[in-house]
């Protein structure tokens, strides 16, 4: 198909240019709301622009589309080489969809340094999109790392009391993982003489070298996902981050790791992927069961949802490393579904936090009487997180569990236990917050405002749509997964 318009570069550049324009305006002249509004318009424009991708994407054609190629470092054969396939487009859409919501949910909660806030979010958006569109390893790494900078500042400036500890931990953990990947990338480029992901996937490395390289990539992605022993930064970062930071962190940043596994680890290192299968399965099982149990005992709502994220991402890693078509599809579906649902759950926590300034479960009781609309949406997303059929959470988990049967039955048992535990803590959370006696301190809380209602409706619509008609996503990804990854 003829589509010569450089839409991908435009997607990366629009937020950057928007951020630059904002930063050049004087800080005193513009009111906070005007800045937020202009940021919102830029990100909405970006979302509309990104909608062109699925419209013009040719599902019958293999490989990357909308390709752009510019030489960048001639001497090293490192190029600005971008393109998208079915695996990247939904994640790009998820990003552009969540960023306006992040700005919307900060409408009242962010009062200081609003301009910086909008600028960092726009930069974050363009870096994340950069990760998803790159076909060159170096440019992938550049964007992958650059994401840390705005996120570091967002948590550090607008976070809670313990924000500096959390943001340092987040930055250093992720950086430590990533530099090992950098070494592996450099090695791969020096051996394969190219940075092109497609060509490297066709290149077969020696088996023992694959084992080392895989671990280097694993270090980076496992921290990002996060997998079990490397997950400790996540609860801290989530608890301290502002609501919008949590939303983008849970919604998209965690998916960078899983996307890395799908896009790089599995296609590059076929032997190592099979070799390390038991290792990754056991880590993921521990993640699913252990973090679910940990989540049961949390008294902080955000922390509970953070731990549930670790458990849900455990399904994703299991699904990816079953190395079957079902598992991959399920894992990918789970990624998108978790992106929507966990983002929505963090927004749910943010709504009451903004009104009552506490995240402790014990401080809430009987909210459903005071805020009926709120508890309705809470229920929708809680059930989606549990995996009720008809919501998006069900499809991904179901496919992953189904695919594990052909690989290892014990895995099925553990994942199933994880689902049950997930239902336990989410229902407990919902019960404690929404039912019971009405606490006197929460009687004055207002129900959802129109803005909140708007984004919850959008998210709930997406959740139900994906749950009822999952084909809309599978049509997009299935072919790309079969051709590009397995």
């Amino acid at each position: 198909m003829d589509f010569n318009f450089p839409i991908l570069s435009l997607l990366v550049l629009t937020p950057i240019i928007g951020a630059l324009t904002l930063s050049l305006t004087g800080s005193e002249q513009l009111k906070n709301k005007t800045i937020l509004l202009s940021g919102l318009w830029i990100s909405v424009g970006e979302f509309l622009l990104s909608l062109l991708l699925p419209i013009f994407y040719n599902q019958t054609q293999n490989g990357y589309q909308f390709i752009e190629f510019h030489t960048w470092f001639d001497q090293f054969d490192i190029n600005y080489f971008v393109g998208v396939d079915g695996v990247s487009i939904p994640l790009i859409l998820l990003t552009t969809f969540l960023i306006p919501i992040c700005l919307l949910c900060s409408w009242n909660s962010i009062q200081t340094r609003v301009k910086e806030f909008v600028i960092y979010f726009l930069l974050l958006e363009s870096f994340i999109i950069g990760v998803f569109i790159s076909i060159d390893l170096v440019i992938f790494y550049v964007f992958f790392e650059a994401v840390l900078i705005p996120m570091f500042l967002i948590i550090g400036i607008w976070g809670g009391e313990n924000r500096i500890y959390a943001t340092f931990k987040f930055f250093l953990y992720t950086l430590a993982g990533s530099v090992l990947m950098l070494l592996a990338i450099i090695y791969i480029i020096s051996v394969a003489k190219t940075g092109n992901i497609q060509q490297i996937a066709g290149f077969s490395f020696q088996e023992n070298i694959q084992l080392i390289l895989f671990l280097c990539f694993f270090a980076s992605f496992a921290v990002k996902v996060p997998m079990f022993p490397f997950h400790t930064w996540l609860p801290d970062a989530h608890v301290q981050a502002p609501t919008s930071g949590s939303v983008i962190l849970a919604g998209v940043l965690l998916k960078l790791g899983a996307y890395g596994f799908m896009r790089l680890s599995v296609p590059f290192f076929e032997y190592a992927s099979i070799f390390y299968q038991p290792f990754i399965f056991s880590l993921s099982c521990v993640a699913i069961v252990y973090t679910s149990i940990v989540a049961l005992r949390q008294d902080d709502m955000k922390k509970m949802i953070a731990y549930s994220s670790v458990a849900h991402m455990g399904f994703v890693t299991i699904g990816i490393f079953t190395l079957t078509s079902d598992g991959m599809n399920g894992a990918y579906f789970q990624m998108i579904s978790h992106g929507v649902v966990s983002a929505a759950l963090f927004l749910i926590v943010g709504v009451v936090y903004e009104r009552h300034h506490t995240r402790m479960i014990a401080d809430y009781s009987g909210v459903t009487n005071i805020m009926p609309k709120y508890s309705f949406f809470f229920m929708v997303f809680m059930l989606a997180s549990v995996g009720l059929p008809g919501t998006s959470g069900f499809v991904g988990e179901f496919l992953v569990i189904m695919s594990t049967i052909s690989v290892n039955v014990y895995l099925t048992v553990f994942t199933a236990i994880g689902v049950v535990l997930g239902a336990a803590y989410m229902l407990l959370l919902y019960k404690n917050v929404n039912f019971g006696e009405i606490k006197s301190s929460i009687k004055k809380l207002n129900d959802l405002t129109n803005i909140e209602l708007f984004y919850f409706v959008c998210l709930a619509f997406l959740t139900i749509l994906l749950g009822v008609y999952p084909k809309i996503l599978f049509n997009m990804i299935n072919e790309s997964i079969l051709q590009g990854i397995l």
Binding site: F143, A146, G156, I186
Partner: protein
């Protein structure tokens, strides 16, 4: 075989020195502009004569390019530095014309050092450079710390010169000659001699374990002088170190290569280990520069895979960043004068947007976080070292850069997350302001348009 043309760049500097001695006494401002133009002229002259300038005089093709490029950068750097130095010197009440003379002598020494083909010439160049530096460290004569820094620098520097001389004499004992090219095969005596020479050069570039002077001297000396120490003379010494490594094929001499590797590892680790606990900005920058020296030594060691290019690229980026960082620091003052502690930077964001954002760029660039140019410097060095098979060193290098990120982040934390406790005054100095804005722009825009810098480095050394 005496050729007048060969010495033209050095002769130009000598003329500048004579002019400065003559007119500087009467008018400092004139001599500043004169020297700026002089250095610009020298760089223009060198570019104009072409990068093969030294090839006609018995240097190899690559060495000639190396020398010309180094001299161009040194003269451009000095032109900028002389312009920049005026205001801070005035602020410290030490604005005297001798300072410009020291700069000139140091640059002359650096020129002689890098283009020497003979150990005695190299010694003279190095001494000329070092003596000027000692004086620049002690230039704030009323300030005890500055005097202490000067004395420390001098006594330790003299010791290292002693090592250098001793090493040279051992080589002479073995070979009976001072010329680099005549020392082709050497016995254990020359090996020890070369080791001593290396030690002396490691001292000059402040590689660990010869770095102890570095934080103290940085802390005591006037900040402008520190900017000078950290950039131009160090650059020249590194290029000379590279030439030594190259000319004597140290990679094939196992014992010397071990020394090199150990010093490289120690620099990487000692630099970050020392910097983590520092509370004083200049000490922190001193330790961080030791870490960067480790990276540069790694670049020197992996020279077979376009090392001149990687080393040069890293050095250029490092110099630009250092100029930027120091310009920001020189641009800020509190009630008692210069900023000293990292906590003095608290809340810089609310005071000056441009300065804090520029600092953000510099620090992330130093930490090697993409998309800033510092990342690509590290990336190219690691590419070279991995192609060379130095896996252990590369792993240590990246691990050290993760630890390094911690203290750079601490500074960013102070600027962006904390509220200011003391009254900061901004010194609206147009030149420093211009320099840090330009540096930050270069480091950022490199990502979008790397061609000019990359092509320059690549066209010379591929």
């Amino acid at each position: 075989m005496f050729s007048f043309n060969l010495y033209l760049p050095e002769i130009f500097i000598l003329i500048l020195i004579l002019f400065t001695i003559g007119f500087g006494v009467f008018n400092k401002d004139v001599s500043i502009s004169l020297n700026t133009f002089g250095f610009l002229f020298i760089s223009f002259f060198l570019i104009n004569t072409g990068f093969n300038f030294y090839e006609n005089y018995g240097f190899t093709d690559n060495t000639s390019k190396l020398l010309v490029l180094t001299k161009v950068i040194l003269s451009l750097g000095s032109a900028v530095f002389i312009l920049l130095a005026k205001r801070p010197l005035k602020n410290d009440n030490i604005y005297r014309y001798e300072y410009i003379l020291f700069i000139l002598f140091a640059i002359l020494g650096s020129f002689v050092l890098i283009s020497s083909t003979n150990f005695l010439t190299a010694f003279i160049g190095l001494e000329l450079q070092s003596l000027s530096l000692y004086l620049m460290a002690a230039f704030s004569t009323k300030n005890l710390n500055s005097n202490e820094a000067g004395i420390k620098y001098f006594s330790l520097g003299a010791l290292s010169s002693g090592f250098l001389l001793f090493g040279i004499s051992m080589i002479y004992f073995d070979v009976g000659n001072f010329n680099f090219q005549d020392i082709s095969s050497f016995g254990y005596m020359s090996e020890i001699g070369l080791a001593l020479i290396l030690i002396s050069l490691f001292f000059k570039v402040s590689a660990a374990t010869f770095h102890i002077w570095n934080p103290d001297v940085y802390q005591g000396s006037p900040t402008v002088s520190v900017l000078f120490f950290a950039t131009l003379p160090k650059f020249a010494s590194l290029i000379f170190l590279f030439r030594i490594y190259h000319e004597f094929n140290i990679v094939d001499t196992q014992s010397l290569n071990y020394i090199f590797q150990i010093v490289c590892i120690l620099s990487l680790l000692v630099g970050v280990y020392g910097a983590i606990t520092q509370k004083v900005i200049k000490r922190l920058l001193a330790f961080s520069s030791i870490n960067h020296i480790g990276f540069m030594l790694l670049a020197i060691m992996s020279y077979q895979f376009m090392s001149e290019g990687t080393l040069f690229f890293y050095l250029i980026i490092y110099i630009i960043t250092t100029f930027g960082v120091f310009s920001v620091i020189l641009n800020l003052r509190d009630a008692d004068g210069e900023l000293t502690d990292i906590s003095d930077l608290n809340g810089l964001k609310s005071l000056s947007r441009s300065k804090s954002i520029a600092m953000l760029v510099f620090l992330f660039s130093l930490a090697g976080i993409p998309p800033f140019a510092g990342f690509f410097g590290k990336f190219f060095i690691l590419s070279a070292s991995i192609s060379e098979g130095l896996y252990l060193l590369s792993v240590i290098a990246v691990v050290s850069s993760v630890i390094a990120a911690f203290y750079y982040l601490t500074i960013i934390k102070n600027m962006f997350f904390n509220n200011s406790e003391i009254e900061l005054l901004t010194d609206t100095n147009k030149i420093t302001q211009f320099i840090f804005i330009i540096s930050a722009l270069i480091l950022t825009l490199f990502f979008f348009y790397p061609d000019p810098l990359i092509n320059l480095v690549d066209s010379l050394f591929s």
